[in-house]
Symmetry: C2
Subunit: 154 residues, 2 copies
């Protein structure tokens, strides 16, 4: 059946960010629901963010639209425009190419669950707004990596 | 802010299916959350299905992946393999090109809410599994329409 067995969906956790940028994301966990259903055109992941954990470093994408929907808990959405609280039922979208970085930080005392949808484009690259880091293209062909903004490797 | 104002998101309702195929979908309602955020690479819609209402006639897509996540209520997922119950927290995925039609039917006595994600490809076309109807390509350029399976118009 196309119904997705969430418990059997492929799981991921942590981050490949180089230290010290990995720190707030080390404990993030997600289930790859779209992969479980055989979807290839966009990713759908169910993230669980424990208290203190961030969804990512604040970033933007050159070629990929992104959408988040909060299922449980409370998160702080950080963008260039400031901070906003997202609670269960709240959602946000980030169009490709808009150079306004975003991330979701769990500053509460309870876990939060969010659904994250992102298109998949191997050309995609982007920058992290608050730190000296970029991610290069080739994320789906295994060629992507993290660099300083001057292009030098970590 | 990229936080989406759900109340201000563009709304749609009903269906353009020709009679009598429109009957179970006449009262469906949805808010176009992805459009509200300026997303173009995939659509994200929040559907509200009252008791008796179907998400669509049972169909498949040639070029578009589709994903549904049940937020509230209970729905019956119908596919070639039979029926399955989806409750809050359940989800399902339908890869492009798999000719196994699906729809969600609210046979309960309460409203149901689902998040529906679909990629956007103007080449997309498909068939309705249980009725003599197809939809032709051009849905995003205004050229799409409904036909009998022999190609004749409705």
């Amino acid at each position: 059946m196309p119904k997705i067995d969430k418990d059997a969906a492929p799981r991921s956790s942590g981050t490949r960010y180089p230290p010290p940028h990995d720190e707030p994301c080390k404990l993030r966990e997600w289930r790859r629901l779209g992969d479980a259903a055989g979807l290839t055109q966009f990713g759908v992941s169910l993230f669980r963010l424990a208290p203190g954990v961030w969804s990512s470093q604040r970033h933007w994408h050159s070629h990929e639209d992104e959408f988040v929907y909060v299922l449980t808990g409370e998160l702080v959405l950080v963008t260039d425009k400031g901070e906003d609280i997202l609670r269960a039922g709240d959602c946000a979208g980030f169009p490709a190419g808009q150079r306004d970085g975003h991330c979701l930080q769990n500053r509460s005392t309870d876990d939060a669950e969010i659904l994250v949808v992102g298109s998949r484009n191997d050309e995609d690259h982007g920058e992290y707004s608050d730190i000296d880091m970029v991610f290069t293209s080739g994320r789906y062909s295994g060629k992507s990596g993290y660099r300083h903004k001057d292009g030098s490797p970590y």
